[in-house]
């Protein structure tokens, strides 16, 4: 694939923006969690784009591909799974207390 790096970065920026929009506007906590997953994926796509770009330079120089990006991306995927597990457990705990998964049941300020 010979798509320029900036297209991949642009796609990542769009996905990140959509993720932020979902995070800030939706009321359903599960969808809010999904929006965060979208943002993490946008970060991963940027990492891939960057790694491919920097690897190109290194391969031309005769060195191996740049691995920092993929390594962080793998850690991000692992941590995304962890966050999903903890987030959903918290949502279950909230549902037991209040029978709702609406963000408003959490975000009301008490002062």
């Amino acid at each position: 694939m010979s798509v320029p790096t900036e297209y991949l970065l642009g796609l990542a920026a769009i996905l990140f923006g959509i993720g932020i929009a979902g995070f800030l506007t939706r009321r359903n906590l599960i969808v809010v969690l999904m929006s965060i997953e979208l943002m993490l994926n946008a970060a991963n796509l940027s990492l891939v784009a960057g790694a491919r770009m920097h690897s190109t330079q290194r391969l031309l120089d005769g060195a191996g591909p740049d691995l920092q990006g993929p390594v962080l991306a793998i850690f991000v995927i692992a941590v995304a799974a962890v966050e999903a597990a903890v987030g959903l457990a918290l949502i279950i705990a909230l549902y037991r207390r209040k029978q709702t998964v609406s963000l408003e049941s959490v975000s009301e300020l008490r002062d």
Partner: protein, 483 residues
């Protein structure tokens, strides 16, 4: 890759020096595993407390004797004097939280073993954060600190406020992590590096704008953990809803960990951002102090005061960004400030945890009236902590402030320093209000006095009081030990 190459790589990586640097982390991880093992058998449950303390003490000794061995694992973990000192402070913070958690809970008692395991995981993450030399290690350390805290904040899961606090902390924390990762990715695209040294070098390249956007996002997520001005609104709710021993850890340990990495990260930030950081510091102090002035609940007041303190210490960060030559002094000032803050705020929240065991309403300032007559020692200790938070001389809080302001003055951030000093004086107002209520106002008639005796909490509180005094009167003792 051939087998020989792999063997060579492994020999080269895992030198005795590496093991020495990792020793404290391995001790903590070993403690966690042993605690999990003990959970399996009901008969071994009495071993929980000694095991927990032994892990902390063992880790402390490992920090002390392994010492600063320099960068290990190819520079992804840096064990310098600062890492060792931070690591010990994190242990102190965890120990205080654990002391105050003894006999605190009245629900979820079946999960107390898990509580201790999660509590012991947090300092592991903090230490990894403090020593991280690249964003990968930092990111995993941050998660290792945050995930147990999300669960612990919601630990009293029968209570709405605790579950809400955990969820709120989680949602905002996960958002912060997403920002951090996108920032790390942009920095990586711009500079080609995820390690701090490489980023600093790569900032000269053509990817500068992208890298700066990334650095700003990373700094933003650090500021979120540190509760700096636009990102401070979550603090009072989360602190109030969480179990108070966990609030101790959040208010002291988490902040110290974010600050520890921020001090490393400051070396990467461009000098031109110093004014912005100083401005944020002053705005944070203003937001914290003004918020604290109107609070009726002592726990919320201390949360706002914690925001103000984060702002104060951020001035030292601004100082080291403005004048990198001051980095040594700045790290010393920040370490001292946070050491004093850990024991001061830790002690104050600990007393709250104690009062709370007699019912939540005792944390209201109204219900503290006349406390000096009912519990003279308790009132005296709480006054000591409040005076230290306010920065009265002869307490640790005063010297911390003094060191921080001297760094920011020498870095030529004069205006912001003056504003900071003025705001610190404003802060005295609400601390004194509590002391006045305890000593000069009549005791409300219908109030049942808190009478519970809790040995661990008493021990923790007196330890804090002694440390606040020692740090205030003999600061050289601490500073000589650290460097």
């Amino acid at each position: 890759m051939t087998t020989q190459e792999i063997a060579g790589l492994i020999d080269q990586t895992y030198s005795p020096q590496t093991w020495a640097g990792l020793a404290p982390l391995l001790t903590l991880a070993g403690g966690i595993l042993l605690l999990l093992f003990v959970e399996l058998f009901e008969r071994l449950h009495p071993l929980r407390a000694p095991l927990f303390l032994a892990s902390l003490i063992g880790t402390f000794l490992a920090h002390k004797y392994a010492g600063a061995v320099g960068p290990i694992l190819g520079g992804s973990y840096i064990v310098d004097g600062a890492t060792v000192a931070w690591g010990q402070l994190f242990l102190a913070s965890t120990m205080l939280a654990w002391f105050f958690a003894r006999q605190y809970y009245r629900t979820s008692l079946a999960f107390l073993g898990e509580h201790d395991i999660l509590l012991l995981t947090a300092p592991l993450g903090m230490t990894v954060m403090a020593g991280a030399g690249d964003l990968v290690t930092f990111f995993v350390g941050l998660e290792l600190l945050s995930i147990p805290l999300y669960c612990l904040a919601a630990f009293r899961r029968r209570r709405n406020d605790s579950v809400e606090a955990g969820l709120k902390y989680f949602i905002l924390g996960a958002f912060g992590v997403a920002l951090l990762l996108y920032g790390a990715a942009l920095t990586y695209v711009g500079t080609g590096h995820l390690d701090l040294a490489g980023i600093a070098a790569g900032l000269e390249g053509p990817g500068r704008p992208l890298a700066f956007a990334g650095l700003a996002l990373i700094a933003g997520s650090l500021f979120f953990k540190l509760s700096i001005f636009p990102f401070h609104l979550w603090v009072p709710d989360v602190y109030q809803g969480s179990p108070t021993p966990i609030t101790v850890l959040m208010a002291t340990g988490t902040k110290a960990a974010a600050l520890a990495f921020l001090m490393r990260f400051a070396a990467v930030l461009p000098g031109s951002s110093a004014n912005l950081i100083a401005l944020l510091a002053v705005l944070t102090m203003a937001a914290g102090n003004l918020g604290a002035l109107v609070q009726k609940d002592l726990k919320r007041m201390l949360a706002y005061s914690g925001i103000a303190h984060a702002g104060t210490v951020l001035l030292a960060v601004a100082g080291t960004v403005a004048a990198p030559a001051l980095a040594g002094d700045a790290i010393q000032a920040v370490l001292f400030y946070m050491a004093a803050y850990i024991f001061t705020a830790g002690g104050a929240f600990g007393i709250l945890a104690w009062l709370e065991a007699d019912g939540d309403l005792f944390t209201r300032i109204d219900s503290l009236r006349g406390l000096a007559r009912r519990r003279p020692w308790l009132a005296a200790t709480l006054s000591l902590f409040l005076l230290s938070l306010g920065g009265i001389p002869a307490t640790g809080g005063f010297l911390g402030k003094w060191l921080v302001f001297s760094v920011s003055t020498r870095a030529d951030l004069i205006t912001m320093t003056i504003l900071g000093v003025l705001l610190s004086v404003v802060a005295l107002g609400y601390y004194l209000r509590v002391i006045v209520a305890m000593y000069m106002e009549p005791e409300p008639a219908e109030l049942a006095p808190p009478m519970t005796e809790r040995a661990w909490a008493t021990f923790g509180t007196s330890l804090c009081a002694w440390m606040v005094l020692i740090l205030g009167v003999l600061p050289g003792w601490f500073l000589g030990r650290v460097f």
